[in-house]
Every structure is written in C-alpha cells, then in structure tokens.
Amino acid sequence: MSAILKRSSRNFLWQHPWQLALAILGIALGVAVVIAIDLAMESSLKSFNQASQAMSGTATHRIIASDGGLDEKLYTGLRVERGIANLAPIVTGYVKLVQPGEDNFKLIGIDPFIEKSLHAGWQNGQSESFSRDLLTRLLSEPNSVLLSEKTAQQLHLQINDQFKVITDQGAQQLKLIGLFSVNDAVAEQISAKLIITDIATAQEVLGLFGRLSSIDIVIEPDDPGTLAAIQQSLPGSALLVSIDSQAESMREMTRAFAINLKALGLLSLLVGMFLIYNTMTFLVMQRRRLIGSLRLLGVTRQQIFKLVIGEALLLALIGTVVGILLGIALGQGLLYLISGTINAIYFRIDAATLMITPLQIGKGVLLGISATLLAVLPPAYEATQLSAVKVLARSQLELGSRRLIKTVGLISMLLIIGGLVTAWFSGQSITLGLASIFLILFGFGLLTPAITLLFTKLFERVFGLFLGILGRLPARMVAAEISRTGIAIAALMIAVSATIGMDLMIGSFRQTVAQWVHASLPADLYVSILGDKMTAEKALSDHQLKNEIAKLAGVQMLSSALHTKLIADDQLTKISVFELNEASKQGFIFKHQVADDLWARFDNQQSIIVTEPYAYHHAVKIGQKIRLKTDQGEQAFEVIAIYADYSGDQGHLAMSRQNYQRYWPDLGYSGIGVYAKAGTDLKQLESRINQLMTTQQTVKSNQDIYKASMEVFEQTFTITETLRWLSAAIAFVGVFSALMALQFERTRQLGILRAIGITSRQLTVLIISETGLMGLIAGLLAIPVGFIVAYVLIFVVYQRSFGWTMAFYFDAGVLYQGVALAFIAALLAGIFPAMKMAQTHPAEALRTE
C-alpha cells in the first residue's frame, strides 16, 4: 500500500518539475544565505584567533602595550631579575613587498631559542637539527628571514635570494635563508603572508629599536604568584591579558555586527518559508481529488499526513544539500566583504579562509529541515481534512481560506502588538530588538491577505469605472484566489518593507554621519601622519613638521590630534589627544547641554570627554571617573562631556594634550589641522605643505576627507546591501512560483475566456495586470511596514548595537523606489506565466478541469 502511495507521490512530483524545482530553490536559497553568513562571519573571527594561536604556541597570557610598545628591558627584567620562565618576546609590523602585487606581509621577529612550549605551530613541524641550524643563522646573519615553502614558490624566490620590502623606514633588503613547511590548511593560510625573522632584524627593519610588540607567556593555572609578579613589574602602558579573554573580546567587539548580519540571513529564510509553504500547498491542492480517492480506498489520515510530510522532508533534504553547497560558494564571496568590514571598523584580519565546520553545516541542515517542516504543517493538516466524498472546488476552498484569513488577522494583530511591545521593553538586548522586527514583519505578512482583499475592492471599483468588466477582472482574480495571491504578496511585502526600512535607516544614518563629518572638519587642510608611533624619532620629526607648517605664509593657526591607546579600567582603549583652537572646538557635537567652562576644564582639569558609543557600552555618565593607567599608577579622570562620533562603534576617549603630556610619553601626532588665513590660496598652501613632507605624510583638503569618509561609510554597507538583494531575490522566486501555480490552476478558466473571444494578447495583458496589481499592493503595504522597521532599526537596534543615536531623515525617494521595486518584481515574475498561458492552446486549456 504505502509503496504505491509513494510511487503516486513521486509520479506527481515529476509531473510538476517547475514547482519541484522552485520548492527546492526556495529552501536552498534560504539555507544558503544563512549558512554563508554564518560561515563567513565565523571564519573571519576564527582566522584571527587561529593566526594568533599559530604564532603563540600554547601561550596562556600575553603582555600587550599601547602604541608606545614595550621596552625590551621589561623582558630581560622579567626573565633575569624575576626569574620567570616561559616568556617569548615578539616584534611585529607590516611591510609591503616591492615586487609583485605590492602585497602587505606581516613581519614577525621572534627569539628562536625560547622554551619549546612557546614554539609556534610551524616550528614544531620542522626537524630539530634543521631548525637549530637555521635559527642560529637567523640570529647571526643580518636581515635574514624565513618564508613558508609555498609563499617562496609563489614569489619565485630561492634560498639565498634577496628581496625588497618597504617599511616606515623606507626600502629594506631582506635575504631568504630558509623555508619552513606547514602541515595544515589553516597554518598554510596564515603563513601565506608571513615573514619570519629574529627580534633584532625585526626591530631594525621596522625601526623599533629597543622595543617589543608583545610578550607571550605560559602561566600554569595553579601559579597565581607569577601572575601577580608580572602584574607588578608592568609599566603604565602595558597590560597583561589572557589569550582566551583576548579572543573573547574580539568576538564581543563584533557581536552586534554579527547579530545584525545573521538577522539578515534569517530574513531570507523567512521569505524562503513563504515560498516553501506556497509550493507545498500547491502540491497538496493539486491532488485534492487524488487524496480524496485515496481516502475512499481506505488510506488513513495519518498515512496522508505522513505522505505529505515525507515529500516535504525529501524536498527539504535535497534543498538543504543544494543550499549548503550554494552557501559555501556564497560564503566565499561574503568572506571578503565581511572580513573587509571587520578590517575597516574593528581589527586587522590578515588572511581569512572559509572554514567549514560540522557545527555550522549541522545548523544549516537543522534550519533547512525545520523551516520546511514548519511551512508544510498547515498544508499537510489540510490534506488530512480533505474528504473522500466531497471533493471541494477551488472556489469553495477559497471560502474556507477567507474564514481562515479572519482568524489569522487576529493572530497577526497580536504578533504586531507583541513586536511593538518587545521593541519597547527590550532593554539592552539587540536580539530582542531584532526579534521585534521579525514579529512585526511576520505579523504584517499574515495580515497581508486581509488587507489585500480590501485593496482589491478599491482597485476593482476604480478600474471597473473606466475599463468595464475586463478592467475589473484583475482585481477580482487576485481576490478570488487569495490563498495563493495573498502568500505571494506577503512574501514580496516582507522583502520590500525590509528594504525600505533599511534604506530609510541607512539614509538617516548617512545624513547624520555626513553632518557629523562635515562639522568635525573645521580646518581647511588636514595633514595625516601615518607610521608606527613606537619609533622614538617620530615624535621629534612630527614636532619639526608642525613647526615648519606653522611658519608658512597663509597659515593662521593649527590644531592637532594624536590617536593612540591607553589602558582605561583595565582595557586597552582608544583615545584621541587633542590640541584645539577656538575653531576646532566648534567641531564637536555634544549629546547634551554643555556649560561655558567646558573647554577650560578640558584643558586644565584632570578631565576627559567620551564618545557616545563609549558612554553607551560602558554605561558612563557625566561626572563619573575613569581610571587610566600611567607609569605613576592609576589616575582618575572625570568625564565632563559626551560627544557624537561615528568613526567606530566601540567608542573612545578624548583628552587635551596638556593632560596627556603630564603622564604619558610623547608619540608625536596622527594629524594636524591647518587653518588658513582668509583669502589664502588653499591649493598653493597645500603644495607648499606637501614639499615639507615625507612619504608617510599626506595632506588633504577637508572636502577630500569628507568624500573619503563618506566612501568608507558606503563601503561598510556593501554587505548589508548584498544580503538585502538576496532576500529580495528569494521573494522574487516566491512570487514567480506562486504565479506559476496560480495560472496553472486556472487553465480551464482561461480556456473559457479564450473560447468567448478573448485574444491571447488580451489574456497576457489581463494576467500581467493581475500580477502588477499584486506588486502594487505589496509595495503600498510595504511603505508603512518599512517605516515601522526603520523606526525600530534606528531607535532600537542600531542604538543598542553600536551606541549611536541618529535622527530619522525621511526620504520620499526610498518609498517610491520600494513601491517600484515591488511592482516591477511582480511584473517581471508575471511575464513568463502570462506568456505561457497566452500561448497555451485554448483547446488544450479546455480539456483540463
């Protein structure tokens, strides 16, 4: 019995290859997007962790420092005076290869003869004698380095070849004296852009004389004494962190970013679920006669239910497998986007490879199958209700679904209200904020059929007035098959309103940022001074440059900034050190009323101002004190203001240069603002400044900086943009499949229209009008929903994710575009079914029932 049932099911599926393919595509796309985001995000983070692990062996802790780096005496002090073992000094920096591609390489200087427990992965792979010999040469030969076998091959370098790199110190000649091999893929990725040398060479090449970047340490868990001893001997600029907590803080930093991305993936899956539901309903309804007959033959309800679920499972399985493969391919593409964004806003990721773990694949399988099963439950239940005696006509089924629509309308109101309440009471949680958006979207999605019925009444009246009965027909057709059209419109509406919501949000954000960038660029020209702040000469040359600029004709006054890091409340924290003039003080946008004496206090008291994201993430209030680590112990700085800053979502501190100089070493400047006298030719001034500068320094007009900043802004939204289009594409497939199913079901009706004398061209127009109408309804509905989504995004999710407040800027263009998007998508999706139906032979059409 059940074998025959299965065969009948298989035959049926084969006879509807379109629907079959679309169902699989729906599942596959939803799963693919979710998996791709997950893989790309996790891989980006993991590559960071694994890179540090591959380099630090089994180190448990690390001494890190702000921009000044560590004095190498700290290392000898710890080893010799304190007698602490298991320490590995490290000097790192980036160099640019002169030859092919000008690729950036990470140069790592190590001490070759440290304890074996601190050997990096690549060291353990080599034979003892090989490495001993090679490492000795590293130490003894100047500028000698190692590369991985693969890298050397790619660069066409042989042992004993020389090659050139560019650093802050200018061009440097390096000599390849040996190759190391790695034995796993991850290590290979990491070592691909790596140059290994000894401490002394690294210091020389990078110009970091007497400094270290960090010190790796192995501390046994039962050895709190060592920990305390190290803590005690650390200078003000250094911090002891555990490797685990460092990895954790990376994850924490990107958490909001990751959650928001994953939400976009789930949006795709949600839209995909509508598609699956639609297809499975079609497959069940198409067989209502068959199922009726089966019931008559004694097939039980359970058997029917199992049959439908079984089919769905099969589709889910195929769709999921396809989705995973697709997801891996897509993930590869997203990886560059995501790691690029992380690079731009959070921290440097050197080499990200897609790492596919069973856990993530498992997640994809689970999601694909459970989403399918969830979407198929209603039609599966419906199938069991099909009676053996009374096979319902389509129109009667529609009656049932209209009743259902009313019930669902109630549920959807509850969902929407639930969503709004969640948004309101979600506290600090980003996840709840996003969940509220999903509730709202899903609620409106369920409400869509009911609203569609209202809309069709209106359109029918309006068009009927001018175009007679044929004009009324499209709206009637939408309303008559609401169980199909409603689903398609809902899927489209959700995708489009998400688009509108995000567009409004991004637009508001763009406006806010543009105003902020504009306001914070009061100077005419900005000199940017790159380079490592560790080198001692840098401060000197920076001051020299500043003095020379000040002396130039046409320069009225200067301001300066130094962007560095300090240890605030036991965390390495970014800080901007400002030397402000009257004009540059106007460049700050404060988030509250400020007193007149603010700047006096800023310059003269032990005070600090913080950015809005910093205040948000650290729950900092005005008047609160922040402890900063100095060489003379911790010092408390009072927070006297909170100001707008959109340059990063972790936030940072700012203090006056006077304050800074009291406790910390001079690191020169990161940038100098040049204010020209009225009437000065800026182009000329710019070229005169240019003549004073080295290659590390650039001068740009405030306009150029404004443009560059806005470009970075747009870049960070590339990924959002991409994902949004993916969910729109899935919605498109959904509408397409619904329309195909719809037209297929009405073949007979269309045949009668043709028999009465409706030409195939009229039929095409009729069907396209119908689909256009569906698109229009989806678009119109998407406007208010998109608005709500934008509100929640701006005032709940983004504020919580990143600590930024922004103003809501309304842009009517976004709304028109949204409606146009829905309309055009539906029209496009309708063209093929319309043509197919118009071309169907009327005699054929009349044969079907």
Binding site: A479, R748, I752, G757, T759, R761
Partner: protein, 227 residues
Amino acid sequence: MTTDAAISIQKLNKSYQESGQQHAVFNDLQLDVKRGEFIVLLGRSGSGKSTFLNLLSGIDPPDSGKVIINNIDITGLSEHDRTLFRRHHIGFVFQSYNLIPTLTVAENLLLPLELIKRVSRKDHDHVEELLAKLKLSDRLDSYPDRLSGGEQQRVAIARALIHDPDVILADEPTGNLDLDTAEQVLELLDILVRKAGKTMIMATHSQEVIGKADRVLSIHNKTLQLR
C-alpha cells in the same frame, strides 16, 4: 466561393500527435449546415465530438481542409483573427465550469458584449430581461459558484446568446445535470435558439434532444454519418 450554407466544412482532416504516433480523429470530413438548422451530434466518448466543435469555432486549427462560416473561411485566418471572429459570430456552451467564477452572473453575460462594443444602459436592460426569462432575476449579482448546476447552465446559455451570434456550439450542455433539469435546459435552448433562428450544433448523449433536431449526425470511422 459562396454557398447558402451557414456552415460549410470541406475535406477536414485532424489528427493528434501522441508520444510520436500520429493518431487521426477526422478523415476528409464533409458537412453543410443550413442557416437556422439544429444539428445533434452523437458519438461514443473519444470519437471526436469536442474536437469537431473546437474545429468549427476555430479554437483548434485543422491539419487541412476548410471551415467556412458565413462565407468566411476561418481556417485561412490567423489565430488572432479567428479569436475576433469567434467573439462576434459564435456562442459557446460547455458541459461544466462554463462561467468565469470571478464574475457575477450579470457580468458573465455582459462580458461577450463588452468584447464587441461599448456596453450601454440598453445592454444592461437586455441582460436583465434575458435573466428574467430564465427566472434568474434574483441572481443577477451572485457569483456562479452560488448557483446550482442547472442554473449555471441556464446562465451559460444566456451568455452564448447575448451577443446575438450566428452559430451556437454546445458540448454536452446537459452532461452534468439530472434528467429533469437537463430537460429544462434543453427546452430552453430549443426555444431561445430556434426562435432567434440561430444555427446550432450540439454534441450530446441525451436521447431526448434527438426528436427536436433537424438532423442527427454521428461520428463514425472518422467521418460524419447521418442517423
């Protein structure tokens, strides 16, 4: 070539291609139908009754041969022109699912009119009159699925007649109805079509109609035979 006949069929051939095999339905079919004639078409299921009606209306093109209606050779027309011809000159009644489910009874009747001209107040009155004759005045604004099978078939007949076509083609119009209702529907067709002097060809299994027909034909061996 001009003839007196309302419909003239000459050497009509039709076959279907099915899984690579040519399967002939008609061989050199020949028939002349006089204006106002009522022809009943009998034949076993699968003999080709529906196919014949579809060829007549131009819904299905023949492989060769001619179908001439009102001196127009519709087999020589393009698909588009055949459709336009159909909307002016032919009225259709099918066995079931005749009406457009998304249009009300009145709209179903107005649609053929709308296809050929601007619908006026007079046309609305005409529709109401016709429905009154069919005792369906109170169902004007009902959707077809609210009507019984017999009522639906009566509306279908009204729709076939509303635009005053020359030829009515009916494909088993009573096939889905019980005997009594079938009788009523046939009665109606007879009265309305006959009175209006229309030519009608009806495919049916029903014996009752035979008495009312001018000629009874049946499809046999891929041609038409008089009974």
